[in-house]
Symmetry: C2
């Protein structure tokens, strides 16, 4: 396969992450130094800006500012949630042609992989020669054929630190605390709450993933049991939990063009479960719910170093694959290599069609019963999330009562 000469274009799509701009900068730095790529452009707001020809010249960005952008959460190019119609794909190809775009990198989750796949099919059908790659990012960690995704480690770290602190808070004042964690279909991020548990009596005491049907009665019984055992109860629950019939427990009403129902940006599920416990669990005197919401993917100042490093590297690897001449299109992924027992990320290209719109659920080996995750999950997650802060705990040597 001959090497291809032409400009590169980068777009960002879907929900942002704390490290998505690391991938952007990784892509830019590799493109600018490649002799076959005269210019590297960015499309503002993904394919929406692409169709409107709102392109910027990323090669003209100052190097030190790019480094600051890499450390800034959310999509510096602006993002979009939009699935291309055949007409839209046609328009995208016109823009490609007008600007001699021969390398296109779309940074996003499984919906963005679907977009990349549709654009690639259109390009192949039209005979337009372009190297078209999906670069992964999602805090949901639910991309098919990946060990994990860039963005997950940082969001998982936020969730773990949030539960570490919230468990101390609940320990101080008692009662039931329910925390709703992002994750529409897959419970990866909710499972990360488990990393906060060190001692047997630490929360979260109950962890509900969308991979298991949520039973209201069983939930209330488990909360009651934890109240008896620990005098308090901290619950981690995925925003996407649903009952045995597949109906989500509480939801908003909006649906996007990929068919996703709005779950985040509302306190509905937390408030629903909170009221359920107040009504049904007699031992529960103080019940509170928080919905962690967008802070999980956007909080400025909490990220996993390993996640940031891999997000940068997966951007670089995408350019290396695209310019290698070995493969014309695909979806980058991170696999877990073996470095003598030490954790090591390996960057691999999968077929776009195998990643597009598919969802990788938490496997059975990581799920413990109906309301917990396994030690195997903790071992899997730890190198991605990094070392967590170490809480202190008083010895609490009792003073002999005198009254």
């Amino acid at each position: 396969m001959a090497s291809l000469r032409g400009n590169a274009l980068i777009g960002q799509s879907g929900g942002p992450t704390a490290v998505i701009n690391q991938s952007l900068v990784g892509l830019v730095e590799r493109c600018v130094e490649h002799r076959d790529i005269p210019s590297v452009y960015g499309a503002l707001n993904g394919i929406k800006g692409l169709m409107e020809e709102r392109l910027i010249d990323l090669g003209r960005e100052a190097r030190d500012e790019l480094e600051k952008v890499a450390l800034t959460p959310a999509a510096a190019l602006g993002s979009v949630r939009q699935k291309p119609t055949p007409e839209a794909a046609e328009r995208v190809l016109q823009v490609f042609e007008a600007h001699d775009i021969r390398y296109f990198f779309y940074v996003g989750g499984n919906d963005s992989a679907e977009t990349a796949h549709l654009l690639n099919e259109a390009a192949v059908a039209k005979g337009y020669d372009v190297r078209l790659f999906h670069v992964p990012k999602t805090i949901d960690n639910d991309l098919n054929l990946s060990d994990h995704t860039p963005g997950y480690g940082s969001a998982a770290r936020f969730v773990a630190q949030a539960f570490m602190g919230d468990d101390q808070d609940n320990r101080s004042l008692g009662g039931v605390k329910i925390n709703v964690v992002m994750g529409r279909h897959a419970g990866w991020l909710t499972a990360a709450s488990r990393l906060a548990r060190r001692h047997e009596d630490d929360g979260p005491h109950l962890i509900y993933l969308p991979e298991r049907a949520f039973d209201r009665d069983a939930f209330c019984n488990s909360v009651e049991e934890m109240l008896h055992r620990h005098g308090r109860c901290v619950v981690a629950v995925s925003e996407g939990v649903h009952d045995a019939s597949g109906e989500v427990i509480a939801k908003g009403t909006e649906v996007d063009s990929h068919g996703n129902i709005q779950l985040s940006g509302t306190g509905a599920l937390g408030d629903y479960l909170s009221n359920l416990v107040k009504e049904r669990v007699t031992a529960a005197s103080r019940v509170r719910a928080d919905t962690f919401g967008y802070l999980q993917r956007s909080f400025f100042g909490v990220s996993s170093e390993q996640d940031a490093l891999e997000a940068r590297e997966v951007g670089r690897a995408a350019v290396d694959f695209a310019t290698s001449g070995d493969v014309t299109h695909g979806s980058l992924s991170i696999q877990r290599g073996d470095a003598g027992g030490r954790y090591q990320p390996v960057y691999v290209v999968n077929q776009l069609r195998d990643v597009a719109a598919a969802t990788r659920l938490v496997p059975d080996e990581f799920i413990l019963g109906d309301n917990d995750v396994t030690e195997a999950f903790v071992e899997w997650a730890t190198p991605i999330v990094g070392a967590l802060p170490q809480p202190g705990r008083l010895g609490r040597h009792p003073v002999t009562p005198r009254l």
Copy 2:
């Protein structure tokens, strides 16, 4: 006034903070080295554990574990929300006498200052000689006669970093984002969202404090105006906002023994405002609300260094005042000294009765119109919160359209 020999007792009360244990450790380290204090005890769960004689010997805690405890959010002794009845105060004095408690330090907010005041009145009436001090902590920053309170700087930092990231998130995907911030009567913490705004187009674009009446129509008009000006809108709103008649906009139903209505631990206000914007603001296509909730006071790993330092120091200062022989009771506070124009905290004792159950609102000089705060507030808050991370921003050099 003669010096007093006897044991010291420490309790923690009210909502925890990220640095309340710094004060605990500051108190312990000064007590253990004082010749007039043979033992330093802790009461579990504040006056509740005190009455039940659930005391622990803090002098037996390992020094290195105490340092870890100092860095751990929330109340290591356990906390409580309880206003003492006359019978309860009598019981507390019995426990004091039984364990020869001559120094009592109660770490908490204005409700805890009220508890300390009531206990002190009871001790004076009974002629029981005890040095009784309230040690301040509250993320609400609403203690009377203080420049600021330990705990506020760290919570304000969390809020600022949350808005910094969330503003990037909103910039990526557009729409209206409403974030509900803690603060029942005073808007100090909500005002801290302003620290996230650097460029003129940065959010939060609207900031609503409980010090100003919240008008639903004016709110919707302002959101619409910001959508026209910036194509998006990020709103910071205090959980305690109320209308001109004094009625809170949305609330839970619980009331504690100090008469406080439950506002946190529910998404009610965020969801209400979100629906209001969806219904009334035609330009609003995507509306989301997050309630930051307990993470603001408990998140493990985000704190202000200055705040942590002052929280430690105010604990030490409380012991110094109590053992000085100059004053028998009081409430510690932080004032702002003048070190040649440089920020410098000064520790001062106020009367318990002047701090008890009083609330210090955000002054007019820090409030700008109905939906913003002033530069003077930013100058005031910056030394307490510390330097924030520096976001990067693409230059966005446009590529000339060709179609």
